[in-house]
């Protein structure tokens, strides 16, 4: 049991440090990028339109359970019958986005990054914090971060749907009504989106634990060991995957949205 230590140096005030480098830069960048993403994705989710164009479907709206029948929504209806009428709008994104949002909010990487940028406790290493009291992740609500692994199956499931979307983006309607294999910039955008999201999701710390990290002997279990190696590889670059996939998923929505709005025509390569 650790014991109390007395006669410690006086704690430094918020932002106080002897560091001479630009320590504030990283939290500022995180703050700006993350805030921009939240604003844009909220706006896009509330739109409820322009989420598909031809064979392209925005990742914010996939899987399309309720939505435009023209976009082949599963139910073929615009909104669920149980949707409370007192809520002004329904967007197909509402029934989907809680999954990636909860996955990312409880992600071990993002936690560290957004605590620094928003909570500033601390904003950077060896820089003073604004408040003395501190609970960590031991109490409500942050104790809920421990449920990260329960958000993982949904994140993995989304990858299946998004892969399916990328597959569909390979097929183009011909004039005769049949489908023909092809390739457009949109196909590449959607495929890159799946790759980046997979890199991020498969590098999940909880997945790493569940797939092999939780046991101490992997020798003699070649399959599990290989899986653990793969996940560990992605995990070592979790931060890169996290930011690339975050930015790209927004870009994918923007791309589809621009096509749907007729501002941009998807560029057909093959």
């Amino acid at each position: 049991m650790p014991s109390k230590v007395t006669a410690l140096p006086v704690r430094r005030t918020f932002g106080e440090t002897m560091r001479t480098d630009a320590w504030w830069l990283q939290p500022v960048v995180v703050f700006v990028v993350f805030t921009s993403f939240v604003i844009y994705s909220t706006w896009a989710a509330f739109q409820g339109n322009n989420y598909y164009s031809g064979n392209l479907l925005s990742p914010f709206y996939s899987p399309l359970i309720w939505g435009d029948p023209e976009a082949h929504s599963f139910t073929g209806t615009l909104e669920p019958g149980w949707w409370p009428s007192f809520l002004p709008v329904f967007s197909p994104a509402f029934v989907i986005l809680w999954a990636p949002v909860s996955f990312r909010l409880t992600c071990y990487y993002y936690r560290g990054a957004y605590y620094k940028a928003y909570w500033p406790g601390p904003s950077s290493c060896s820089v003073g914090t604004p408040r003395e009291a501190y609970m960590g992740e031991r109490n409500f609500p942050l104790i809920l971060q421990n449920a990260h692994r329960y958000t993982l199956p949904f994140a993995l499931l989304l990858l299946v749907f998004l892969s399916h979307d990328a597959w569909k983006a390979l097929w183009f309607q011909t004039e005769s009504g049949s489908e023909k294999l092809g390739l457009s910039l949109g196909t590449i955008v959607l495929t890159a989106n799946v790759v980046l999201l997979s890199g991020y999701t498969f590098g999940c710390h909880s997945l790493r634990h569940l797939i092999g990290g939780g046991i101490d002997k992997l020798a003699g279990r070649p399959v599990q060991r290989a899986a653990y190696e793969c996940v560990s590889w992605c995990n070592g670059r979790h931060m890169i995957w996290a930011w690339c996939s975050l930015i790209w998923v927004s870009f994918t929505d923007i791309y589809v949205r621009l096509c749907a709005m007729g501002i941009w025509a998807d560029w057909r390569i093959l």
């Binding site: 049991m1 650790p2 014991s3 109390k4 230590v5 007395t6 006669a7 410690l8 140096p9 704690r11 430094r12 440090t17 002897m18 560091r19 001479t20 480098d21 071990y108 990487y109 936690r111 560290g112 605590y115 620094k116 406790g121 601390p122 290493c125 060896s126 003073g128 914090t129 003395e132 009291a133 501190y134 609970m135 960590g136 992740e137 031991r138 942050l142 104790i143 421990n146 449920a147 990260h148 692994r149 329960y150 710390h205 909880s206 790493r208 634990h209 569940l210 990290g213 939780g214 046991i215 101490d216 002997k217 992997l218 020798a219 003699g220 060991r225 995990n235 070592g236 979790h238």
Partner: protein
């Protein structure tokens, strides 16, 4: 040889201040060389702790230009040349004198952690079979030289001073080395959650950044341990599976 300005914190538990010294700096000098030069030529009683001077013992921990560093591994030619170099003692521990701090708390915490307990030996001569692949995980943690820079930089100790509730990155690395040792039978997961306070860690990764041994403290030690705590305390499904299967590995 050129002259560099150093500002070295000098004082004791009653207080102190940065004192300025002009030091002749040779090629390849590290901060510890400059401190020794000050000690030999200008302030004989300047207190500094050091031993191996090769980054292997972890004695000469201090804060150079505000960042936790081993003085023996911080080259002067890699610091900004236009500004004075500040050298201060670690802030997370009580000052003894000048650059020396009282790090005894770390030794107390370690002694309180459940010790290593091996399973019965695999061979009659008292040896165990372990696969190189499996030992590499705990071996990473055994590189720790106990410089306590990770403890120094961690805001839970540094700013919130929760020494009585939080064991700090060094001790999570220590626990991880035993928990992941293939022949250990001890279980320290409940201890991690309660007495050792792993839940206070909010993953700033500062410990990983300052580790002179390059141990990936957060991703390879703390988070896997947090996941083991989740297994035992926050995941009803995992507990159920364990109940049905019996305790596996």
């Amino acid at each position: 040889m050129k002259t560099t300005t150093f500002k070295v914190w000098q004082g004791n538990s009653d207080g102190g201040e940065l004192k300025t010294y002009e030091v002749e700096v040779d090629q390849g000098y590290v901060v510890l060389d400059a401190i020794h030069r000050i000690q030999a030529e200008q302030a004989n009683d300047l207190a500094v702790r050091w031993n191996c001077k090769a980054g292997k013992c972890g004695s000469c921990s201090a804060e150079v230009n505000g960042s936790p560093k081993l003085m023996c591994m911080t080259r002067i030619d890699e610091l900004p040349a236009d500004k004075p170099i500040t050298v201060e003692p670690m802030r997370t521990f009580p000052v003894v004198k000048d650059l020396v701090t009282d790090v005894s708390w770390n030794y107390e915490v370690k002694a309180s952690i459940k010790r290593f307990s091996p399973k019965t030996a695999d061979h009659e001569d008292g040896s165990w079979d372990m696969d190189q692949y499996d030992v590499e995980r705990p071996q990473e943690f055994r590189k720790c030289i106990e410089c306590f820079l990770c403890q120094d930089v961690c805001h839970v100790l540094r700013d919130h001073q929760l020494h009585d509730r939080f064991a700090g990155p060094r001790h999570y690395v220590y626990v991880a080395n035993m928990e992941m040792n293939p022949i250990d039978t001890g279980d320290r997961v409940a201890e991690l959650r309660e007495e050792l306070g792993i839940g206070y860690c909010n993953i700033t990764k500062c410990c990983t950044k300052v580790c002179p041994e390059g141990i990936t403290i957060t991703d390879n030690a703390i988070i896997p341990l947090k996941e083991r705590v989740v297994d035992q305390s926050y995941d009803p499904l995992a507990r159920l599976i364990k109940l049905v299967k019996g305790s596996g590995d």
